[in-house]
């Protein structure tokens, strides 16, 4: 395969006519319905980016393969959603993934929290994967009835994949939660760390209301009973207590992200930012 990367400038000479080495961000103002779909698509994308960090680093080879396979499904789902939204906005999927600023990403904060590199252990990855897979499973199920035929079709495929994700993640939650004293302790810590971020998955705002009124998709708050029905029995089997609800609310879906998001995007977007229009 041939690459068409522009060469990096070798000197800082101002007289050379080398193009800027940073691609400009795209500017746009999404409609509420577009924001709604971006929240789901971006959560798939950012979650996949975190899962992919385990490539070559998972505790066992089988899990290395599993986490990256899950990431592959999630990237596929993100591509489908971002392509669909992008068509309405006049952008390609790659522009949306690689040329958006942090504030324009609408993923739930839980997806961007540090993964392997920040020294967090495998329990953290497993708990997040389970909590998000369960949410995705519920939302894809509802989106199969979307008034947007393309979204319903994407959901029809993704919901099947999400069943494997939930089953795989649930296996690990039980295995580690009901494992050794050490694994159980780490799982409890991971649950305590991540649980406050789940509140954002079930809030409702003007974006949800607009999507629900258009028949595009469900209000987030309506997903809670079915999500609980997946999470509660697995936690019970794993011997993990479900933490009490707190007042903390994360705000990634409104574009206000944690301090970790910028680093994630810097890595994820570096190629397109450094090599404007680079393709292979």
């Amino acid at each position: 395969m041939t690459t068409t990367f522009a060469p990096l400038p070798t000197t800082a000479s101002a007289s050379t006519s080398v193009a800027s080495t940073t691609t400009e961000s795209i500017a746009f103002k999404p409609t509420p319905v577009q924001s709604y779909l971006m929240r789901i698509g971006d959560t798939c994308l950012i979650h996949a980016q975190r899962l992919a960090e385990w490539s070559g680093h998972a505790p066992i080879l089988e899990e290395d393969i599993a986490l990256t396979n899950l990431a592959l499904d999630l990237v596929g789902q993100a591509r489908a959603l971002l392509t669909h939204v992008g068509q309405q906005m006049g952008f390609g999927e790659d522009q949306l993934a690689f040329l958006r600023d942090e504030r324009d990403f609408a993923n739930f904060t839980i997806a961007e929290l540090p993964g392997r590199r920040a020294g967090q252990d495998f329990a953290n990855a497993i708990v997040r994967n389970f909590l998000l897979a369960a949410w995705m499973n519920v939302v894809w199920t509802k989106l199969e009835a979307s008034s947007d035929a393309e979204i319903a079709a994407i959901a029809g495929k993704a919901v099947k994949e999400s069943r494997y994700h939930v089953a795989h993640a649930a296996d690990w939650v039980v295995r580690l939660g009901d494992g050794t004293d050490e694994s159980a302790k780490r799982m409890r810590q991971a649950v305590d760390r991540l649980w406050p971020y789940t509140a954002e998955l079930f809030e409702t705002d003007a974006v949800d209301t607009a999507a629900a009124e258009a028949g595009l998709g469900p209000l987030r708050v309506s997903l809670k009973p079915e999500w609980d029905a997946i999470v509660a029995p697995v936690f019970a089997e794993a011997g993990l207590a479900i933490p009490a609800a707190g007042a903390f609310r994360s705000t990634g879906s409104r574009g206000v992200h944690s301090e970790h998001m910028g680093y994630l995007l810097a890595e994820m977007q570096t190629l397109q930012r450094s090599f404007p229009g680079g393709r292979w």
Binding site: L61, R79, A158, A170
Partner: protein, 177 residues
Amino acid sequence: MSTVTAPAAARSKRVDDAWRVLHGVLDPEVPAISVTDLGIVRDVIEHDDALEVVVTPTYSGCPATEVISQSISDAIVAAGLGPARVTQRRAPAWTTGWITPQGRERLRAYGIAPPGSCASEATGANVSPIRLMARNVDCPRCGSAQAERLSAFGSTACKSLYRCVACREPFEHFKPI
């Protein structure tokens, strides 16, 4: 409407020939079976300007999707039936239930245990998401039902890894979806 179900007499020779060509286009990641065995070719439509081949993706993130589209287009053109264009149809979603009986046999002969019924994948309030033990899969080499799962995921998104307890051979299983 669909030439998949239309009687053969209703199809043009060009469409018939295209189906014959497609029977020989192999899946790049499982080169034992063709794209028609896999059940991903949903329609072949003759337009004034081109022959349209409608395919449905197997997995959302399947990296073979683009290669498959290219292989199909190349094969149609090479057979003198072009120009061809390959389009995607997402709904209804592909299921392993669309793999033909011949395709299943070819998978087995290739050493991949074919997928069982998708019914076991149905969800409902009474279906526990916990399945520490995988489903029963017959060894594609010796036929024993005594197989154990080594890995829920395999070399591609569509497969998992098993080992036969009877003949000790490891093998891949095409997951029902």
